[in-house]
Symmetry: C2
Subunit: 321 residues, 2 copies
C-alpha cells in the first residue's frame, strides 16, 4: 500500500466496462477493460465494475483513492446518481449506481452521461483543451452530442443531457425510435449509413457484387467507405449523402451553441477523409449569421479512453481536489 493519491474513471458501456487509474493531474497510471455478459444485468454490471476497480487498485499497490467518476451509457440522472434507462434494455429503469459504489469504497462518486464524460475528457487531455465552448459529436451507432462550457458540462433541466442527435434535420426522413421523422441520428448515424447502403444493395444486385459481397447483410459503413476510396460511384454518392446530412446537423449545432470548436468521434469518423471536403465546403457556404469559418472542426484525440479520463475529471471537479 502506498499513499499516492489517485482517481478512478469508469466508462460503463453497453458491452464493455473500462476503468482507468489516474493521478490528480490526469496522468494515466493503468487501464483495464472487461466485456460484460451478453445478458447484461443491473447487479452484474455494478458488481463487476466494483470488482474491476478493486483489481486495478490492488495491481497498483493499493494507492490512496480520492474518488470515482463514471460516465455511463443511457440517460443518467447526475443529481441522484441513478441510470435512468438505456432504451435497449427495459430492466435498467432508475438503477441506483452511485450509492452501491459509495457504500463499497467509502469515497465520493459521481455519475455522468457517457457522451458528456467523453467530451470532458477531450477538454481535459484531448482535442478540446482550453476551448471555452467545446462541442463533442460522436457519430457511431447513434449520434451523441455534448457541450462543454468553460470546462463544465452543459445540462438541461434536472441535470438532463441534451440529445442533439435527435433534433430534426429533414422531416421527410425515416422514422426514428425517438418518435420523430428525420432526426439527425436517423439520417447520418453509422446505423443510418448502413441501413441506407443495404437498401441500395437490395435494389441493385450488380452493385452488391461490385462491393465484392454476396449478401446484403454484409454491407455496412466500412465496406461502402472502402469502395468509395476505390472510386466506386454509388459508394461515393452514398458517402456524399452522409456528408450532406452530417453538415446540416453541424450547421444547426453551430447556430444553437456557437461553439469555438467541434470535435468529432465515433466509428463513422474513420471515414472522415471521405467526408471532410463536403462538410467544410457546406459549412463555408452556410450561415453568415454565425461565423462558421471561425469554428474549428477536427477529430477527437482520445478514442475509447476519453470516457474514463473525462469521468475522472468530473470527479475532480465535483470534489475540487
Amino acid at each position: 500500500m502506498d499513499n499516492t493519491p489517485v482517481i478512478i474513471g469508469v466508462d460503463l458501456g453497453a458491452t464493455f466496462v473500462r476503468v482507468g487509474l489516474f493521478t490528480q493531474e490526469g496522468e494515466s497510471l493503468d487501464f483495464k477493460i472487461i466485456q460484460l455478459d451478453a445478458e447484461r444485468k443491473v447487479d452484474t454490471s455494478v458488481r463487476r465494475t466494483i470488482e474491476l476497480i478493486e483489481k486495478i487498485l490492488k495491481d497498483n499497490n493499493s494507492p490512496h483513492l480520492l474518488g470515482i467518476g463514471t460516465g455511463s451509457t443511457g440517460p443518467v440522472n447526475p443529481i441522484d446518481g441513478t441510470i435512468i434507462s438505456p432504451y435497449t434494455d427495459p430492466a435498467w429503469q432508475f438503477v441506483p449506481y452511485i450509492q452501491p459504489l459509495e457504500d463499497h469504497f467509502r469515497v465520493p462518486c459521481v455519475l455522468e452521461n457517457d457522451a458528456d464524460a467523453a467530451a470532458l475528457g477531450e477538454f481535459w487531455k484531448g482535442a478540446g483543451q482550453n476551448v471555452s465552448r467545446l462541442l463533442a459529436v460522436t457519430v457511431g451507432t447513434g449520434i451523441g452530442t455534448a457541450l462543454i462550457v468553460d470546462g463544465r458540462i452543459y445540462q438541461g433541466m434536472n441535470g438532463l443531457h441534451p440529445e442533439g442527435g435527435h433534433h430534426i434535420v429533414d422531416p421527410a426522413g425515416p422514422e426514428c425510435y425517438c418518435g420523430v421523422h428525420g432526426c439527425w441520428e436517423s439520417l447520418a448515424s453509422g446505423e443510418a449509413l448502413t441501413a441506407f447502403s443495404r437498401q441500395q444493395a437490395q435494389n441493385n444486385p450488380a452493385w452488391l457484387r461490385e462491393l465484392g459481397l454476396d449478401d446484403v447483410r454484409f454491407v455496412d459503413g466500412a465496406s461502402v467507405s472502402q469502395a468509395a476510396r476505390q472510386g466506386n460511384q454509388l459508394a461515393m454518392q452514398i458517402m456524399q449523402r452522409e456528408a450532406h446530412y452530417l453538415s446540416i446537423g453541424l450547421i444547426n449545432m453551430m447556430a444553437v451553441y456557437v461553439p469555438e470548436r467541434i470535435v468529432l468521434s465515433g466509428g463513422v469518423m474513420k471515414s472522415y477523409d471521405l467526408l471532410e471536403a463536403t462538410i467544410q465546403n457546406t459549412l463555408k457556404r452556410s450561415n453568415p449569421m454565425i461565423p462558421a469559418s471561425q469554428v474549428q472542426i477536427m477529430p477527437a484525440k482520445l478514442g475509447y479512453f476519453a470516457g474514463a479520463i473525462g469521468a475522472a475529471f468530473a470527479l475532480k471537479q465535483a470534489t475540487q481536489i
Copy 2:
C-alpha cells in the same frame, strides 16, 4: 435632484428606442419611447438615445444613476460594446456604442443582443421567474432565440449570440438571406407566414376575395389569422402549416437545450390560440429522449417592455449592484 439610486434600461430597435427607468429591485419608475427617423444613422441613434436618457432623468428629478444597460437589434459584441451589423443596414458595421454612452454619463454601461435582453427581462420580472433553464423564442418578422441558464445569458464563442432561428428544419424549404435553405425563420416567422399566404392568394383569387381583400399585398399573418378564426378552410390550413413548422423548431430547441420552460413572444404569438393545440399535440407525440411533456410552453408576459427591463437587469448583474 434626489439620491434615489436608479438603473436605465434601453431597448434599441430598428425603428424605436425605448428607455425605462428602474429601481435596483426592478420597479418601473418611468418609460419613454421615440421613433427613429426613417433614415436611421449610427450617430443619430446614439445621440437620440443619449437625449432620451437625459430627458427621462430630468423628468424624474435627476436621480442617482448607477448604470445603463442596452439591448440592441442586430448582432452585438457584448465584450467590447459594439454593434456588429444589423443585416438590413450596412452602415452599422462595428459601431462603438458603449464608449459614447460611458463618456457621456460616466457610469458603467453594458450592451447585449435584444433577444437576450428580452429573455433576461422575462427571467427577472416576467414569465420565466426562477426558471433554471429558460428559453425565449420570439416569432415576429424573424425568429430569435435566447437561452438563460441559472439567470445568465448563454453566449457562444467570443460572446456571440446563438441564432436558433437560423437552424435548418427542412432542407426542402425556401432560401433564407442567412444562406441556407429551410431554416426555421424561413418557414415559420411572421414574414414566412405572410409570404406563403400571399403566394396562395396569388394562385387563388377566389380566396383573396374570401379574405375581403382586393390586392395580394394586403394579405398578411393578421388577415389570415382572422379568416382562420372565422372558419375559412385555406386560412386554417395555412395556420396549421405555421404550427407544424413552429413545432419542429420547438422540438429541436428541446433536444439541444432541454429547457424547463419556453416563453413565446412576437407578433405571430397573437395567433397562439390558433396554433396551441397543434403545437402541444405534436410535442406530446415527439421525442421521448427528452421529457417534452415536462417542458412548459407559455406566452411571454412583458411584451415590448421586456427588452428594457432585461437590459437593466444585465447592468445589475454586470456591476453586482
